[in-house]
């Protein structure tokens, strides 16, 4: 077994079998998080480097915890404290990290394709923890895991993705993963927040939240990225909240057992009302717990290829 690849860069490149292998492995690893001693020796002696060029607490901590539960050593690099402010390029930074014998580099970067670029230049395994508006594959995998855990399957479910799909790497990775696994995907947002020709991704487009929610099994709320308001996508936050906030009344339009997901951090009262965020339908904290198991699974599966394959340059 094991993944027959050096890196985890996109959902787009994964086969359905690879996704299933990651999810099954994560399921077996979840038990470790429930123990008194939350640590297994599987990656003893391996080094994981978190290289984050964008602020992130949740994702970085999740990767760090995942690595530590597998007994790997973890180093955190962030640009404000390192040589990047002195003008070093991403590749040079990474080559330096590699020279310190890093086995896995976890990269978050504002530029789409940064992880792929890095993966071509270093022998270490690279895990994409978000590259610009492109992809956030580990978020999609943990979302698939959570859906499977709560609903027993992904295939055949109706999943609604609500919010700024155009500028969301979470949405892109989730659409790819959900369609690969056979879910029916709906996207709903103001037209300014939906990319052109999104139908080509195999999704159905809605502009009114109420219409999209009817018959939904899973609702994925995207965070309203307030920093984008200056780009004139929206007249105001209040108007967005009025039209797209998930309220208890709107949640009632979905199936009775529907679950509500959110990648965090929450804007309470903007995209999700506090009473929905705290309701039994919300599985937002399960997503956080499952994120650690899924990232453990990935690190375990990627560290399999004992001898690093040569660079594909």
């Amino acid at each position: 077994m094991g993944l027959q690849r050096k890196d985890l860069l996109t959902i787009a490149a994964l086969t359905v079998d690879e996704i299933q292998l990651i999810l099954t492995t994560a399921e077996s690893l979840k038990e470790v998080g429930g123990r008194d001693i939350k640590k297994v020796p599987a990656l003893r002696g391996k080094t994981v480097v978190n290289l984050f060029f964008e602020p992130s607490t949740r994702t970085r901590t999740s990767f760090e915890l995942a690595a530590k539960r597998l007994s790997a050593d973890v180093i955190n690099f962030s640009p404000s404290t390192s040589s990047i402010v002195k003008g070093e390029t991403l590749i040079d930074t990474a080559r330096n990290i590699e020279s310190m014998q890093a086995d896995i580099i976890v990269l978050r970067h504002p530029s789409p394709g940064a992880a792929e670029n890095l993966a071509r230049s270093v022998r270490s395994s690279v895990i994409n923890a978000g590259d610009g508006w492109h992809e956030h594959p580990t978020q999609a995998l943990l979302d698939m895991f959570t859906i499977k855990e709560k609903k027993g399957r992904v295939e055949g479910l109706t999943v609604v993705i609500v919010g700024d799909v155009a500028h969301s790497r979470v949405a892109r990775s989730n659409i790819l993963a959900l369609t690969k696994l056979g879910a029916e995907v709906r996207v709903v947002a103001p037209p300014t927040m939906l990319p052109d020709s999104i139908e080509h991704f195999g999704v159905t487009v809605f502009y009114r939240l109420d219409d999209a929610l009817i018959g939904a099994d899973v609702i994925i709320m995207l965070r309203l990225q307030r920093e984008r308001l200056s780009r004139a996508l929206l007249p105001s936050i209040r108007e967005y909240a009025k039209l797209f906030c998930l309220t208890p009344e709107r949640l009632n339009l979905a199936k009775p057992e529907a679950i509500v997901m959110h990648p965090g951090p929450l804007n309470r009262g903007v995209e999700i009302s506090p009473s929905v965020a705290d309701s039994v339908a919300a599985v937002i904290l399960d997503q956080v717990t499952n994120g650690v198991s899924v990232r453990m699974a990935l690190m375990y599966l990627l560290s399999g290829s004992g001898e690093r394959s040569t660079l594909n340059e």
């Binding site: 077994m1 077996s28 038990e31 123990r35 640590k39 297994v40 020796p41």
Partner: protein, 183 residues
Amino acid sequence: MTISLQPQERLLMDAQEMGRALSRISHEILERNKGIDGVALVGIRTGGVFLAQRLATRIQQIEKREVPLGELDITLYRDDLSIRKDQPEIRKTTIPFNISDMKIVLVDDVLFTGRTIRAALDGLMDLGRPAEIQLAVLVDRGHRQLPIRANYVGKSIPTAREEKVQVFFEELGQDDRVSILSS
């Protein structure tokens, strides 16, 4: 009942012998522990789990009480993870009771180098602090590489190092038996 053997297969134990060995081990477990107070069985995946289930059934028939039963996957504790080319599949560890202060009988099908048992001991210790760990195996084939010995042995079988000993299980749709497969 006639068993259809595979080519290159030499029979070491048939279904009856397997059954008798498990019955004897059940009695030995009860004798050594003076009943089943504080005793639990933990099978090592995959073969050990089937054997632990069978031992539990026999012990329950004798004692009229249920004995706690767990399943242990040792993959994460293997000592060859960093040198293997391919990662072995991780399966679930399910131990639905607290092992602290229990007398744990670890169950495996074949005792060979002892490395699996070393991994299982580490795995168990991470789950709690048992009062005692005992080892039951269906077959001891020798060639130990670590100082490990079983408390209960179904059958000791001298083998050559390069031979492969395999236990076949009804649970997997096979005829119950133990065989040497020569390559």
